[in-house]
Symmetry: C2
Subunit: 207 residues, 2 copies
C-alpha cells in the first residue's frame, strides 16, 4: 500500500510516518519508483506498536527506539533478550543514588538481578526523590511494595511462558511490560478511588 | 533568598525557574524591589515536587499543573479531593473505547467509582491498545491484575490513613501515587528480571 493508505489504516498523519521513517523507528517500504514506496502489514503493526508505546506508555522517542531495537534483535539467549527488552525504556544517564537501600531490598527479596540493571538505579533515584520530598511512607514500606511487584512479575512471566516462540515472548514482554505498566497504574487508580470512597466517602467532616 | 540561590539549592537553572513562574507552577516570590523577588522554603519544596513529577513521574507540564492545583486546593471533602488528586494526571481528551469490559471488571470487583472517572477511560484505552496489537494475555487476565491493584490500593490508603491533616493526606496521595507508580514499575522490572533468570537463565538453548 502507499503511504497515504498506511496513514488511513493507522490514523497516523503522513508527516508523522515520514518522521518515524527518518528516525529509523519504521523500516523503509519497498521502493516502487524513484520517489514512491510500498508498505505492508508489518508496517501497520509496527506503527500501532509505536503509537501504543508513545500514547499509552508515554515513552520518549529515544526509549521507543531502544525498545524496538530489542523487539527486532535476534534472541540467542532468551533471558538476556528478555532482560534487555524489559528495561530498554529505563536506560538513563543519571548518577546513582542511595544504592545501599536497593541492595538491601534485593538481598531481602532474594532477587537474582545484575548489579548494573537499569531498574536498580531507577529504584535508587525514586527513593532519593521520596526522601527529598519528605514523604517517607512508601520507602519505609518498600518490602510490601516489592511483595506486590513479585506477585505481578509471577503473573507476567506465567503468561509469557504459555508462548513457545522466543520472538513472540520478547514481543509480548515489551507490550505486556510497557502497556502493562499503564494498565497497572490505571487499575491502581480505580482501586484507590474505591478504597478512598470506603474510607472517606461517608460522614467526612468539612476540613 | 534570591532566584540565584533558589537555583543553587534545587539544582534547577534560573531560566527554568522563570518558566515555571510564567506557567504558574511556582507561586511568585515576594517583591523586594521593582525587578527583584525573594523566595523561601515553600518555593524550594515546590520546585523539588515539580522536578520529581517531571523526571520520576514523566508527567507533561499540563498534568503537573493539574496535579499542583489539587495539592493547593482547599479540601472540604477529603474523598472528593483525593479522587481528583489521584487522577489529576490522567485527564485526557481521547474518545472512549471498550467501556463494557471495564464496566464488567468494576462490577466484578465491587469497585465504587464514578462513571466518568478518568482511570475508567484510561483502562478502556489500554484494553483497546492491547487488542489492536494482538496481545490478549493481560486483557484475558484483567481480574488477576485488578486483584494486584486492590492489594496496592489497600497498602496505599493504609499508609495515608496514618496521617491526620487533610492537606498532608492530599500531598501524600499525589507524591505516593505519581512517584509510587514509578516505584511499582521499577520494582516490577527487578522482580521480572529475577523471575526470568529463574525461568530462562539456565540451560536456555540458543534460539
Amino acid at each position: 500500500m502507499r503511504i497515504a493508505e498506511l496513514s488511513h489504516r493507522t490514523g497516523i498523519p503522513v508527516p508523522t510516518i515520514k518522521y518515524y521513517l527518518r528516525e529509523g523507528l519504521l523500516p523503509p517500504g519497498e521502493l516502487t519508483s524513484r520517489n514512491q514506496a510500498s508498505y505492508d502489514e508489518p508496517h501497520v503493526r509496527r506503527l500501532q506498536l509505536i503509537r501504543a508505546l508513545l500514547e499509552i506508555g508515554r515513552l520518549p522517542i529515544a526509549s521507543i527506539k531502544a525498545v524496538l531495537a530489542e523487539v527486532d534483535a535476534p534472541t540467542p539467549n532468551l533471558h538476556h533478550a528478555l532482560g534487555r527488552a524489559l528495561q530498554a525504556d529505563l536506560i538513563q544517564p543519571e548518577p546513582e543514588e542511595n544504592g545501599e537501600e536497593v541492595d538491601a531490598l534485593i538481598a531481602l527479596r532474594g532477587w537474582q538481578v545484575g548489579h548494573d540493571t537499569p531498574a536498580r538505579r531507577k529504584v535508587a533515584d525514586i527513593i532519593a526523590a521520596f526522601r527529598r520530598l519528605g514523604w517517607h511512607d512508601m520507602v519505609d514500606n518498600l518490602d510490601s511494595y516489592a511483595d506486590i511487584a513479585d506477585r505481578t512479575a509471577e503473573l507476567d512471566l506465567g503468561l509469557l511462558r504459555t508462548h513457545a516462540d522466543p520472538e513472540e515472548i520478547v514481543y509480548g514482554a515489551v507490550v505486556g511490560t510497557i502497556l502493562g505498566d499503564a494498565l497497572l497504574v490505571a487499575l491502581r487508580r480505580l482501586a484507590q478511588e474505591s478504597a478512598s470512597m470506603k474510607l472517606y466517602g461517608l460522614n467526612q467532616p468539612a476540613g
